[in-house]
Symmetry: C2
Subunit: 397 residues, 2 copies
Amino acid sequence: MLARFTPRSRRETRATVLENLLRSGGAFRPTIARETNLTEASVSRILTELRNENLIQETRQSAPYPGGPTALVTLSNNVALAGIELSNSRLSFGIGDPSGALNYVERLPASPHLDQGEFERLFAESVRTMRDWSAHRGTVIRQAALSIPGYGRAAGNPIYPWDMDRLRNFLADTLDGVPVALTNSVIAQAAFHRYSNTTKYPVSGDHLFLFVGHGVAGVIVDESAPVDAFSAVEIGHMVIERDGLPCRCGHKGCVEAYTSLRAIAKIIGVADSAVLSRGDSFIETLVLDQGVHDTLRERLFTLGLGLGNALNLHPLSSVVISGWPSLMPEEDRKAITEGLNDSLLGGFDESRLALSFIAPSIGNDPRAALYYAAYCFVRGGGLDAKADPRAALEEIA
Amino acid sequence: MLARFTPRSRRETRATVLENLLRSGGAFRPTIARETNLTEASVSRILTELRNENLIQETRQSAPYPGGPTALVTLSNNVALAGIELSNSRLSFGIGDPSGALNYVERLPASPHLDQGEFERLFAESVRTMRDWSAHRGTVIRQAALSIPGYGRAAGNPIYPWDMDRLRNFLADTLDGVPVALTNSVIAQAAFHRYSNTTKYPVSGDHLFLFVGHGVAGVIVDESAPVDAFSAVEIGHMVIERDGLPCRCGHKGCVEAYTSLRAIAKIIGVADSAVLSRGDSFIETLVLDQGVHDTLRERLFTLGLGLGNALNLHPLSSVVISGWPSLMPEEDRKAITEGLNDSLLGGFDESRLALSFIAPSIGNDPRAALYYAAYCFVRGGGLDAKADPRAALEEIA
DNA sequence: CACACTAATTACACAGTGTAAATATGCAGG
DNA sequence: CCTGCATATTTACACTGTGTAATTAGTGTG
């Protein structure tokens, strides 16, 4: 972040500035220049351009120090974005803006066994309603994003075994004209935590965002790139115990088989959905017998073991964990570090690895997809998707 | 590889062209332009520049087709490079050129328990001799590289637990003026296989180079970048069996504990070094009883299991394996795919994952380090290391 | 109200590229 | 040996995007 990256395409520079604004939620020019490694001159040029396109707003603020800056730059909330989330239990649609505000929401129940045809019917109808709503208000949706659990795996999606080309074509047709990004739910989650200002994000710099829910998935957040990059990493199906518990993927001994919400729910004896919906205190509200408690710790240990293996392959110095483990008492979470200690090369060392926990977000759908849409919009420099062929190359699986 | 990357720094463009030449071992201009995504005009400008600096040579060749190109461009063998390799058994020094030719070699026995002081003594003396040799001939070493097993781990090097800052300073002092790159032996191995023209490298495109020797290490070769990037990946210490065999790292059940040369040598009942030195037919020359044979297959299965886990985390569609498994009969190597089938999400599928084997190189030291030096020289655009501050950012761990 | 201090804009020079026109080169056929 | 074809190679020019530094603008303090 020290050196100056001299000539880039305008799109890239715009993306850098826009992304900085998305992340900060609003900033003064000198700060932008510092964080993006651009000169104030460049920032000025870019902002002028963006202002003319109504992508940013400047609100007067009294200067924070003598001679200080006077206008706070924020992303314009005139930019309409659509977020759509498919989860195990529902399909949600929302329209909002880069600040994360949701101005329109529709949520439909959806079966976890939704087939592609049913999905298309549900989707098409809701999109019609959604677009009517936006047409009425005269807003043009600049970017849409759809998040789907398990999306993007090379081997195909084991949860929704759909034809992805058909899906992409369907989306392009249905949302005609509106650029759509398809992504994995975990990536959307990561974007949510990273860009929503409600939660203070506990780290900066490259890190792993680990989400333990129905699946166990990681997202590597690469902040050294000019624009943040999120890439999904398959952790849940790492085989950690030969001939271990059977997993829904068909293998045995996967991390997911031990630590997924489903596995945990079974141990505690409640329904999957109940675990998270009880919020912070799901554990406290249960009268746990010692056996259950020990088993949960054991599962956290397993998670740590898998995480350590993952970190051996992807050396990163900080990890943010979200999902049910974040709801566990701190004392129990230590089992994760014990597991880490047994697999991370050199053992667990607090000074080399920062672990933090962040509460999972419940009932916020489709905010995660909305933030992901904002990220995509910003990543493209706020320009039309097709304008630069390079964009295609940067697409993240 | 389709889009054109517009403005880059001159250094980067030079690096791209030079690296292309290193990889191809010589090419015609139209080919270079195509492969580097540069216009012929740019290639022409860059080559003119490089020719003036004596970094490349053009040899007349009859055109391969009417009106075809007439000059084959190669890296100049006037560029002197030094490769230095530290291995379990010896320390070798060499001077050569980008074609891989070694003009000077010195090899000294070295203990696997070499301490840092002893290393420095040995090193300093040999470097003196080496530099005398080059001074006599009036050659100036443009880039040196030193490869060390286990180098670059965040947790420190378990094999040579040295002070790395001290080592870096020592090298800078001893080789004063000559830029030195320090790297892991596996990365040097990967560079060797990739750039030496003797072996036909079996893949193109991003892939994993897996080396199974004293350790089990992977190198991700990223060819989508303008200049190839090699990054080491720790596979050997993935815990694959809870409470499994003890590993030298202190943990239990690491892949290395099952599949390293040491582990295999013990099973077969020969010395570590004997396994590889017998070359291609080390297995055939042994009268294996069924038990030994089964155990070896079992170990290959374990390797496959670990590799599958690694590929879940780093999705890549081809893997090149080198080391003792490459010497095994094809029939036995299938155990690797069986292991892969049990851990790779979606199972092993020939159409999604290409596995290839490449014989380990024996007694070639310090050629691997020499190729790595060539890579570093080329990566820097053939310019002095300090000229562009950005180079520091691109340093690979 | 002037001053001190920093922000924001803008003119200019520079690096690096692609396009396209101009020039060079080799081969085949007479 | 010469001609013409087919492509390679070089070069002039225009364009993009940047940093530097000079200029202009804005704010709080005494």
